[in-house]
């Protein structure tokens, strides 16, 4: 980027406030990490590429905050289109945008409002992008409402860490809100606790006992769950899977739930409640989104510039009773299925059989795994138990590893003597 174009976009004092922080260390700045001045400014404004996942309630706060903090190469990905019900809190969208992709409308708005900032939108699912895509970013900020999507991006970023290439480590800043409650957290994949390490902390979706929804419904939610959990599979069987994103499916559920509600004299079943229950939509409050997004963007700014130490590593916000926040350090779990467990690289003879590898794992010093079970993501190589799986995988014992597992593929080894697993990467000689 040439200096000339930059200057036409900037005006005197544009970065006056932010430069105060970048130019001199503060009381808590790490003296070893602080570089400040032109280096920090240049990285922030001309090099740093940041990805925002989600252009919903949090995304609509994250994007302008990033742009106004001096990030100039911002990317955003979201698979949703704008619904009229989003307009009450997703401030980047106007009535004319209803039906348009959120990522595109949000990007346009921020670029129009903040000169010199490029926001590149992607309308689609995060799962459709590969490692090459995520590799280009320096920092990733997620503002998601789905546990599944969080687990996916977390596992992807942990998986991308290449020990020989420190830049392959992409900090993930995760924000989340639920009514008056929220959190923001900083994850340095493979270095600090990841999403999967703390899976039991995540809020479970509300589900009702199946016998209540079958027999004794008392709330509109019970009628809606009856329609989706019991009635849909009874009527459509395996032939038609319920798609929560299909408005026609929601309408069908709404109609069934309404009939049932009438039968039990329950009031309050509406189309939007039906959608909310089925999709497990959590009430969103604009100000909670604003607080959490602000914290997440501050963390991005700190990580990008070293102006202050980053959050260690989880900030919990409780807005139900005054405003209370608490910051603590989540620890990594040795038995975490995503970031836990060792990875062992091994070079073996291309004629080595599965049986020989198992013996090798049992005998080798500093591995010594008793009765290991081995798999790749698509193949059960050998399972020690139960007997039926052992019998089904036994023929593989005689086979050559090089025929079953391509070089470099990760083998997951589990055994009762391991906290969870060991990852094995084989190359053949």
């Amino acid at each position: 980027m040439s200096m000339a174009t930059q200057q036409t976009q900037d005006w005197p004092g544009r970065y006056y406030h932010i430069d105060q922080i970048l130019d001199k260390p503060g009381p808590r700045t790490d003296p070893d990490a602080f570089v400040g001045g032109d280096t920090a400014r240049d990285f922030l404004r001309n090099q740093c590429k940041v990805l925002v996942i989600g252009a919903g309630g949090l995304g609509c706060e994250l994007l302008p905050n990033l742009a106004l903090s001096g990030f100039r190469d911002i990317h955003v990905i979201d698979m949703d289109t704008i619904d009229v019900s989003n307009l009450n809190r997703q401030f980047l969208f106007r009535e004319k945008d209803v039906g348009r992709p959120k990522a595109i409308a949000a990007a346009e708005f921020v670029m129009k409002r903040v000169p010199g900032v490029t926001v590149t939108p992607f309308f689609g699912k995060i799962q459709d992008k590969d490692e090459e895509f995520y590799k280009q970013f320096h920092i990733i900020i997620s503002g998601l409402d789905s546990v599944e999507a969080r687990r996916w991006i977390n596992a992807t970023l942990v998986g991308m860490v290449d020990e020989d290439d420190p830049e392959s480590l992409k900090p993930l800043i995760d924000g989340g809100t639920e009514g008056f409650k929220g959190h923001s957290r900083v994850i340095l994949p493979t270095m600090t606790a990841c999403i999967e390490c703390t899976l039991d902390m995540l809020t479970k979706p509300t589900v009702f006992p199946i016998c209540t929804i079958a027999n004794t419904p008392r709330q509109p939610e019970h009628c809606i769950e009856w329609a989706s959990v019991l009635e849909w599979p009874r009527v459509f069987g395996d032939a038609k899977k319920l798609d929560n994103d299909d408005p026609e499916h929601i309408t069908w559920l709404y109609e069934q739930a309404s009939k049932r509600a009438a039968e039990f004299s329950i009031e309050g079943v509406t189309w939007s409640l039906t959608q909310g229950v089925v999709k497990n939509i959590i009430p969103a409050i604009a100000s909670t989104n604003a607080i959490v997004a602000a914290s997440s963007v501050n963390e991005a700014l700190k990580l990008a510039t070293n102006a202050a130490p980053p959050l260690q590593n989880y900030m919990m916000l409780v807005g139900t009773d005054g405003v209370y926040s608490f910051t603590f350090e989540h620890e990594r779990k040795p038995e975490c299925p995503v970031c836990g467990g060792e990875t062992v690289n091994m070079t073996v003879n291309k004629d080595m059989t599965v049986q020989e590898l198992i013996e090798h794992l049992q005998e080798t010093q500093n591995i010594q795994i008793k009765k290991p079970s081995l798999s790749t993501s698509s193949t059960s190589i050998y399972m020690q138990a139960p007997p039926v799986l052992e019998r089904a995988t036994r023929p593989n014992l005689e086979k050559k590893l090089s025929e079953l597992v391509p070089s470099g593929t990760e083998i997951t080894v589990t055994a009762s003597t391991l906290p969870l697993k060991l990852s094995l990467r084989l190359t053949y000689s």
């Binding site: 479970k204 016998c211 995503v338 467990g341 060792e342 798999s375 790749t376 990760e410």
Partner: protein
């Protein structure tokens, strides 16, 4: 950013590229360390897909002794945040199982926690055959029969397991010798 990359350099080698999903790893760990009692048998239609399987429970005591009950387990990628989806395959006469195969077991829904595992679910299912629970009915007629006349209920169970009808509903034959 530079600071973190330097920290990473100093830290050295660690885990990398977990291509197998967290759900798959958990399930592999769960199933290969199961100690199946004589009353339980598992089957995988495809041994390379650990996430979909059948469990057959053949109670050796209680009112359902002599029967053999097959359940399908479907585990999705959000396991263990979400519980496995379990259905009873044959149509059976049981207060806590409806005619569609839905099962009323608290840990399959409202009381599921990620620290639970497949073993917990399997033990819970087996318990339903030892102690059918009339207070949480999915099959209201069966629950009513159990509450009002236990002897009659036991006769109904036996008739249903042999493939007979109860309250006008015909059930699948699930006697163990029928296999």
């Amino acid at each position: 950013m530079i600071k973190i990359w330097n920290m990473k350099k100093a830290e050295g080698s660690g885990p990398k590229k977990p291509k197998t999903s967290a759900a798959q790893i958990r399930v592999q760990k769960d199933v290969t360390e199961l100690e199946l009692p004589r009353t339980m048998k598992m089957d995988w239609p495809d041994a390379n897909d650990l996430l979909n399987f059948f469990l057959t429970i053949s109670p050796d005591e209680g009112m359902y002794k002599g029967g053999s009950f097959k359940f399908s387990f479907a585990i999705n990628s959000n396991y263990p945040h979400e519980p496995p989806k379990v259905k009873c395959v044959p149509k059976i006469y049981h207060p806590n199982v409806d005619l569609e195969g839905n099962v009323c077991l608290n840990i399959l829904r409202e009381d599921w926690k990620p620290v639970l595992n497949l073993n917990s679910v399997m033990v819970g299912l087996q318990y339903l055959f030892l102690e059918p629970n009339a207070d949480d009915p999915l099959n209201k007629e069966a629950a009513q029969d159990l509450r009002s006349n236990r002897q009659n209920f036991i006769r109904n169970v036996n008739r249903s397991m042999a493939g007979g009808s109860v309250n006008g509903e015909t059930f699948d034959r699930v006697l163990k010798d029928a296999e």
